[in-house]
């Protein structure tokens, strides 16, 4: 290369362009082409892979997903102060083995509405100074009360937090029911719990929240969200954190509790009769929504959704089919191929 250049320099002294591969557009290059063998084999490989994937997923999901809806918990929701309770009975036909998760599911709740999504102050939730952090936020109209007291936590998301409490009872026999032990912490992401949310620092929690008020729809202030567990209270309350992670779609489910594997429940939920005891606080009929309680186990691919499995199966099948068609066309046409003529 060096030789070439110096030679070039001798040939043309001044204005001659360099003879570099880059300038002469002669850079070495790989010129891929849609060659029949590659294309067809890739079709069949990808197609079969998708098919296999799909079949696996569907098998797992079919097996695992046992879901229980207790839809339409009808109640007049206009009475806010009144504590309303209701119970829902159901029977589990099979054992639910492994990890069992309890979700609440909301329908028609637009957590992904732009103004809703914006209506929070991450600075405030990080425990920074209340008065400063809510000023630049878009928490309106849930920023301050008319008298100027700041709302903690501010914003529409926090204000509308899901506040039903649900308990699960297992009937050992027809008369005795025991409460199923459920874990209420460890349900959120580690990064949320430890990085994104922090309580304001003070000698105790209630003083940290001094000078602020609870959001208007809340029944108790933030520092009383979980009185039993210091590390699950205030902003770092798991229920609160989970609620604050807004959903992508108007129909969604959020993790509420996990099964604690103790005693009879060491392997999961045994088959039998169960009852939900629900303290009904969260009104949904107003916005024509629904709420459900979901008990679910989890597969290796997560979720409890047939879509991926079906989608993989379908696309796999289509791709394989297309592969066959293309092969047929290709073989048929190969003989008739006209070569390039000047």
């Amino acid at each position: 290369m060096k030789n070439k250049n110096s030679q070039g320099a001798q040939e043309c002294p001044s204005r001659c362009p360099d003879n570099s591969a880059f300038k002469q557009q002669k850079l070495p290059a790989w010129k891929p082409k849609l060659a029949a063998p590659t294309v067809l084999s890739s079709f069949f490989t990808i197609g079969l892979f998708c098919l296999l994937m799909g079949i696996c997923l569907i098998l797992y999901i079919n097996y695992s997903d046992i879901c229980l809806n207790c839809s339409k918990l009808r109640e007049n929701s206009s009475n806010w102060d009144k504590e309303c309770n209701c119970t829902v009975h159901f029977t589990l036909q099979e054992n639910m083995l492994g990890n069992v998760f309890m979700y609440y599911r909301l329908q028609n709740f637009y957590q992904n509405h732009r103004r809703y999504v914006l209506s929070r102050s991450d600075a405030q939730l990080l425990g920074q100074d209340v008065n400063v952090s809510i000023q630049n936020s878009s928490c309106e109209p849930f920023t301050t009360y008319p008298n100027g007291t700041p709302v903690a936590p501010c914003g529409a998301i926090a204000n509308s937090m899901f506040n039903d409490s649900i308990q699960l009872f297992y009937y050992l026999n027809s008369s005795t029911a025991i409460e199923v032990p459920l874990l209420k912490s460890g349900n959120s992401w580690w990064s949320d719990k430890n990085v994104k949310f922090r309580n304001p620092t003070s000698y105790n929690l209630s003083s940290a929240f001094a000078g602020t008020t609870r959001p208007p729809y809340w029944q108790k202030p933030a520092y009383l969200l979980d009185e039993e567990d210091e590390r699950n209270n205030g902003y770092i309350n798991d229920d609160f954190i989970i609620w604050m992670r807004v959903s992508a779609f108007p129909t969604f489910r959020n993790l509420y509790r996990r099964l604690s594997h103790t005693n009879q429940f060491a392997d999961g939920l045994p088959a039998g009769n169960y009852t939900f005891h629900i303290t009904y606080n969260f009104p949904v009929t107003k916005f024509k929504g629904q709420k459900q309680v979901v008990l679910s186990t989890i597969t290796w691919s997560g979720g409890s959704n047939l879509f991926l499995g079906i989608a993989y199966t379908v696309s796999g099948a289509v791709i394989v089919l297309a592969g066959f068609i293309i092969t047929a066309i290709h073989l048929k046409l190969r003989k008739k191929k006209t070569y390039f003529q000047r």
């Binding site: 079709f43 108007p250 916005f287």
Partner: protein, 1048 residues
Amino acid sequence: PVNLFEQFQRVANAYFLFLLILQLIPEISSLSWFTTIVPLMVVFTITAVKDVTDDCFRHKSDNQVNNRQAEVLIDALRDDRIYLTSLFFSQADLLLLSSSEPHGLCYIETAELDGETNLKVRQALPVTSELGADIRRLAEFDGGVVCEPPNNKLDKFTGVLFWKDNRYSLNNEQMLLRGCVLRNTGWCFGMVIFAGPDTKLMQNSGRTKFKRTSIDRLMNALVLWIFGFLVCMGIILAIGNSIWEQQVGAHFRIYLYWSEVVNSSVFSGFLTFWSYIIILNSVVPISLYVSVEVIRLGHSYFINWDRKMYYPKKDIPAEVRTTTLNEELGQVEYIFSDKTGTITQNIMTFNKCSINGKTYGKSVSEHIKTVPVDFSFNPLADRKFQFYDHSLIESIKLGDSMVHEFFRLLSLCHTVMSEEKNAGELIYQVQSPDEGALVTAARNFGFIFKSRTPETITVEEMGKLVTYQLLAILDFNNIRKRMSVIVQTPDGQIKLYCKGADTVLFERLHPSNEELMYLTSDHLEEFAGEGLRTLALAYKSLTEEHFKEWFKILQEENTSLDNRNEHLAAAYEEIEKDMMLLGATAVEDKLQEGVTETIASLSLANIKIWVLTGDKQETAMNIGYSCHMLTDTMNEIFIVTGHTVMENQHSDREYFVLQAHALEADLENEFVEVACMCQTVICCRVTPCQKAQVVELVKKHRKAVTLAIGDGANDISMIKSAHIGIGISGEEGMQAVLASDYSFAQFRYLKRLLFVHGRWSYFRMCKFLCYFFYKNFSFTLVHFWFGFFCGFSAQTVYDQWFITLFNIVYASLPVLAMGLFDQDVNDQNSMDYAKLYEPGQLNLLFNKHTFFICIAHGVYTSFALFFIPYGAFYNTAGEDGKHIADYQSFAVTVATSLVIVVSVQIALDTSYWTAINRFFVLGSIAVYFAILFAMHSDGIFVIFPNHFPFVGNARNSLSQISVWLVILLTTVVSVMPVITFRFLKEDLNPTITDQLQKSRRKQKPLQNYIPRVYRRNSRRSAYAFSHQEGFGELITSGKNISDRTVKL
């Protein structure tokens, strides 16, 4: 700052500024201000840098030219008199005052002006020519001129000179127009009449227009369409929002109050409209224009850097002067070419001859094998002259009387002036280059024309000096097509030597010559078949009585007042008969290197070549034949009216000359109609302005891309008005180059410019645009789909930072690399297979059709990008039971899918993977993940909690298997149909490129071979006299014989 202001004047940029303002309104703002301002800043920076480099570039080249001319110009401005030396360009329209030659004569060449190559004579008024070189008197010269206003007529001038209480009328004879070159004249003084823009040359050169490519126009139209589409989407979503607010939002309002300003669902819809305009504006990408500019700039540099367009003899590389036209080079359909200096070198060489029925000389292709004749025996030989047949020199040495007579004729029968500067250094001042070639040939073969006086011609014949008495010159004119001299040899013989067009001459031969005539005629056809310019030569011995008798008649006629010319012609006719044929000469009007091959392959590519020249019809046609633009199988049709000759050649073998004021309005349509049916058109005798008119006509009536190429100032108007103007650089005149968009040193580089650079540029630009629109639609329309699920609230799918960076960081470089480096076939193949050029002409690679395919592809991809994650995440949880379907995870999933899909797509689109492509594609993905993790990191969140709320998201989402399954499925679903379609298309309906690529894999590349067509059996003979009437008279009157030559 000025640059910034200028940039805002561009509509596109103003639009983005408007968007920026919209974003500052809190009720509307759906995106933070930085999503627009950051890309805008980047775009502005790049544009500013580009503008600055462009400016510097232009400045440099302008300076080059200005410095060259400055000296003369300053003189011109100080006082109105200019001193010009020989070979100098005149820089203003001058009134000739005096010159070094007697009688104030002055020879000029006007090739720059009208393309004619012969010399013209200008003569100063007697009163002013007396001033001579007396500087003092010249300085005192205080004449005033009243003349016509500046106009563009090159051949007319009227004015009056007032000096010393006298009036002298002025006409074109006294004018030295700007652009003409002084020849054979030591110096001259002139007075400036018009300068600068008023000169006739500049009046002719037309206005400079801002040139845009057709892709540019299409792009602008498409951007408008996209904008309309954007508004439509905005309206749909706004209506959706109104309905949603009414139906759903009204009930949801307990959780989500309306903000204070909003009081009705309609108003909310209105605000939503603007919000969506902001979000969806990325379908009209900010970076589009700047990317296009960058790519064009890159292509321009590639042209500048191309070694195969570098002319080492003159050290001139190709140069791009307008960087914005490159892809148009791939779409050219009409080429308008100048003749002189562009196609031809303007050098005539004596190539072959036929003497007494025997041909001498070899054709050009045989030159390589043979050694040129050694003329060292002749001390006065012109070193540059080369001849390739040794038998001729043998004949001369043997003393073949016919051969001697032949060369004697060449050395006697002409109007050349000679000048012997030093001993053994003869300089001929020729009026037409053909004649120069003939006299030079005679000189080299030992018949050296030494000098002349009005009455004598001195020739050194084979070493001994012979002086002939010059009795008469029967001058040339267009009707006679011949010239003769009558001389008396020292031993008293009177001879008439005649040379002229074979057709005229053959009629006037002595009957005994019949056999020789047929033989010579065959030879002539052979010569003409090779594109040589031929002349027949004949002589006649006269008795003294015969001559004296005739001479008396001649002088009577000469004095007759009415119809003098006709009488003279009749007298000439009288004596020019019963001549003895000597033979014929063939002069080659040397073409530029490689012109024939270039023209042949250009016409293979369906490019129509028109030659526009100010030269004569014969000359122009001759060139047409010699570069194989015209062939004998074509018929000619001449329609002659008026003074403009148009000659056309029909593609279905009909041949056609249209002559008219065809350029005047009423004939316009017919002209274009007919001319465009022909593959080759030659227009002769066109003025610079008409050249431009022709180009304009074609532009107007055919929506085709035109290219004009020329080297002289007379081509400026044409260069300016064509879509693409090319200047041939390296000759004296720089005006054409300055007006041009591209310049290089040789006509043959045009092929490479079009076939390689033009084709690639077009190909790359089309691919780039397709991909660019595809990319932005895939990116943006996801928001549209999401609108249906988020209450039409203008919530974005992606993180704001992703929106900010996607177009300028994640997805810009790979496509830029493709736009810069992609090649479907290599340069050699592009040069070899002219058919590859056709898609560009037909506009196949990027038009509305392909645009809609790209858009559809983009819409489909965005659909897959949104609905696959939607289906997968609908009502589900992650593998640890925790969040996965939350908004932020969804955003990360879709964004990651998008980056991967788009990268895979560019990988599919790129057909030439250089290291740079690889680096950019892989680098973009790597950078995406790097930035993703950086923005989702703890540290940055703690510092700016409100701006980076996605903390920990990348880590949590991307560790989920199902997220990756979604990304994989999305990629497969988006890409597989594309592969299917491409594969099937290649199989069912392969393009030329596909076929070529396929055959290239199978066999070795075909060698570049363009058959050289030799025309045989030509019934046409070319006749070479680029002469002007009147020189014979000048010689016999002795006006132009300067004193020192007379002394000899």
